[in-house]
């Protein structure tokens, strides 16, 4: 095809269609997962607290998420008079966009990623560090004391835990010797002993706990601590804009769980890989989904179990425990790399 001197080959056209299709499919998948994650959260925490959870809308309450969404969409989005309008409206978008854009580099199955770029891990680090802007700006633009306090807490917490999280990722990077997520998973694929969670167990815990802190989930939810600052940074938001914050929080939870599964737990690789068990040993999206669900269950479990951390305890854990721990482990890993220990560090 030719448009005014520009040739567009059928391959180009097909690539564009395929990419757009994959993007739409992934986005819809993430949004649907978010819907049912909220349902799972209410059910799981309900049962943990000896309640039933939602059970009125649809069978077993399965349509509850949609009822919630339609309720939020039909509410009036209130913009406070003293708010900085453009920033106030833009902030939810700034939270949501990185949470969705990060999915571009995730390998869902062998050789299946929207954009298999060779700096995938860095791309993820860069994108996940952008989410904090939406939170800070929402707090500032609302022109409300509670919101500003929540934003301050959030900024300090996210910046602190990003360091430990980054160091944990450096550990994975050293073991894999590549920033390409597809290669990174492929190196773990031969069998369960190759998973990086085994040599990097402390880093896995640091990563996962930092991930809980980064997503502002309990027990690190001082950002929206309702007993002190009502709802924190999104106290002035309602309707669609509140729904976007909500969507972003849950999309981020799924994202960090997927990352933990991809980086430490072998991603799409089967835990039975290498054994002669046919379909059970085959790699595939199913295994990634299963691992992500287990990690997400932990998120819900934490929320039902732990009381909220005090602010100084959060800072202490981040700076005085996690950062030194990761530095020590990275040094040890350097030694292991030098001596080519185990199946992980042999090149």
């Amino acid at each position: 095809m030719t448009f005014g001197g520009i040739t567009l080959s059928p391959e180009d056209l097909r690539a564009v269609v395929r990419t757009v299709g994959a993007v739409v499919l992934t986005t819809v998948g993430v949004i649907l997962s978010v819907a049912y994650l909220t349902y799972a959260e209410r059910k799981v925490i309900g049962y943990m607290q000896a309640r039933l959870g939602p059970n009125r809308v649809g069978r077993w309450g399965l349509l509850q998420p949609f009822a919630d969404v339609f309720k939020l969409l039909s509410k009036e989005p209130v913009i406070p008079d003293a708010a900085s309008r453009a920033v106030f409206v833009g902030a939810p978008l700034l939270v949501l966009t990185p949470a969705l854009a990060a999915w571009a580099v995730i390998p869902f199955a062998p050789h299946t990623a929207i954009a298999p770029i060779n700096a995938g891990l860095l791309y993820l680090l860069a994108l996940t560090s952008l989410g904090v802007y939406g939170v800070i700006l929402a707090g500032w633009a609302s022109n409300s004391r509670y919101a500003l306090l929540g934003a301050m807490r959030s900024a300090a917490q996210i910046v602190s835990y990003e360091i430990a999280m980054g160091f944990a990722l450096v550990g994975v990077l050293m073991a894999a010797g590549t920033l390409d997520l597809g290669h990174l998973v492929a190196r773990q694929a031969p069998n369960i002993l190759h998973w990086y969670v085994i040599p990097l167990l402390p880093l896995f815990f640091v990563y996962f706990i930092s991930a809980v802190a980064e997503t502002n989930r309990a027990p690190f939810d001082v950002v929206e601590g309702e007993s002190e600052i009502v709802a924190g940074f999104h106290v002035e938001y309602s309707g669609v804009m509140f729904a976007m914050f909500f969507l972003a929080e849950y999309a981020n939870m799924i994202l960090v769980s997927t990352l933990a599964a991809t980086l430490f737990l072998g991603g799409w690789a089967s835990p039975f890989a290498g054994l002669p068990w046919g379909l059970l040993a085959a790699p595939g999206f199913f295994w990634l989904a299963l691992k992500v669900m287990i990690l997400l269950f932990c998120f819900l479990w934490f929320r039902a179990t732990f009381p909220r951390f005090r602010y100084d305890q959060i800072m202490r854990l981040g700076w005085k425990v996690f950062v030194p721990l990761t530095i020590v482990w990275i040094s040890l890993e350097g030694v292991a790399l030098w001596y080519r220990v185990g199946p992980w560090f042999a090149r």
């Binding site: 001197g5 700096a119 860069a126």
Partner: protein, 211 residues
């Protein structure tokens, strides 16, 4: 011209335009928070231009370090400031001549670079594209193998700077009450609670149950 070429040109044009506009916004914006936001936007657009030049690693690191960390802290500080715009405006006329000199000097320098290149005095080599080697690996080999010592010395100087900054702000004050979390964790009930018998044997009082 193929579609891919046109796409690259279009993307470059778009992001370069937004970069220039947002850089203007940093200077023009009345609200300091808005100015900081424009600065973030211009960093982001500059990163895209770097990626287009084939420097993916540097582009992403620019976003990661400047947008993801430095600007967060800057925004944090700017948000906390109580800036009275009227007071800032007051000095405008007085500082205008100096600002004009600086602006002219900058314009001259930028113009000189372009002009000199036209005269053939400086020939700018096109950005190096290290063949099939991934960007990150190429940069890593350069920093950690070819130029290891300068790199390590630079790193050491930065470390000295960090330590100096901490030493400068570190103050020891007497009589400050601090929590000792490990002491809090180590605590045992036996050391916290002393059970006393309010009615020792032999004293008159309500004994037994139901008191």
């Amino acid at each position: 011209m193929t579609a891919a070429h046109l796409l690259v040109e279009g993307v470059f044009g778009f992001f370069a335009t937004v970069l220039v506009i947002s850089a203007l916004g940093v200077v023009v914006a009345r609200n300091p928070v808005h100015a900081a936001l424009f600065l973030i936007l211009s960093f982001f657009n500059a990163a895209v231009l770097w990626v287009l030049l084939g420097a993916e690693f540097l582009g992403i690191v620019l976003v990661l370090v400047y947008v993801g960390a430095v600007m967060v802290l800057l925004l944090f500080v700017v948000m906390m400031l109580d800036i009275d715009l009227v007071v800032i405006r007051r000095g405008f006329v007085r500082h205008a001549p100096l600002a004009a000199v600086v602006a002219l000097l900058l314009a001259f320098e930028i113009g000189y670079v372009f002009w000199a290149r036209h005269l053939g005095l400086v020939s700018l080599a096109p950005p190096l594209r290290p063949g099939t080697l991934p960007n990150t690996r190429a940069l890593g080999l350069r920093l950690y193998r070819d130029d290891l010592y300068p790199f390590e010395i630079a790193g050491f100087l930065l470390l000295v700077g960090v330590v100096a900054a901490i030493v400068l702000t570190l103050t020891h004050r007497e009589g400050v009450r601090r929590q000792d979390p490990s002491a809090q964790v180590r605590v045992e009930p036996a050391r916290r609670i002393r059970l006393v018998d309010p009615f020792p044997k032999g004293t008159p009082g309500k004994g037994g149950e139901g008191g």
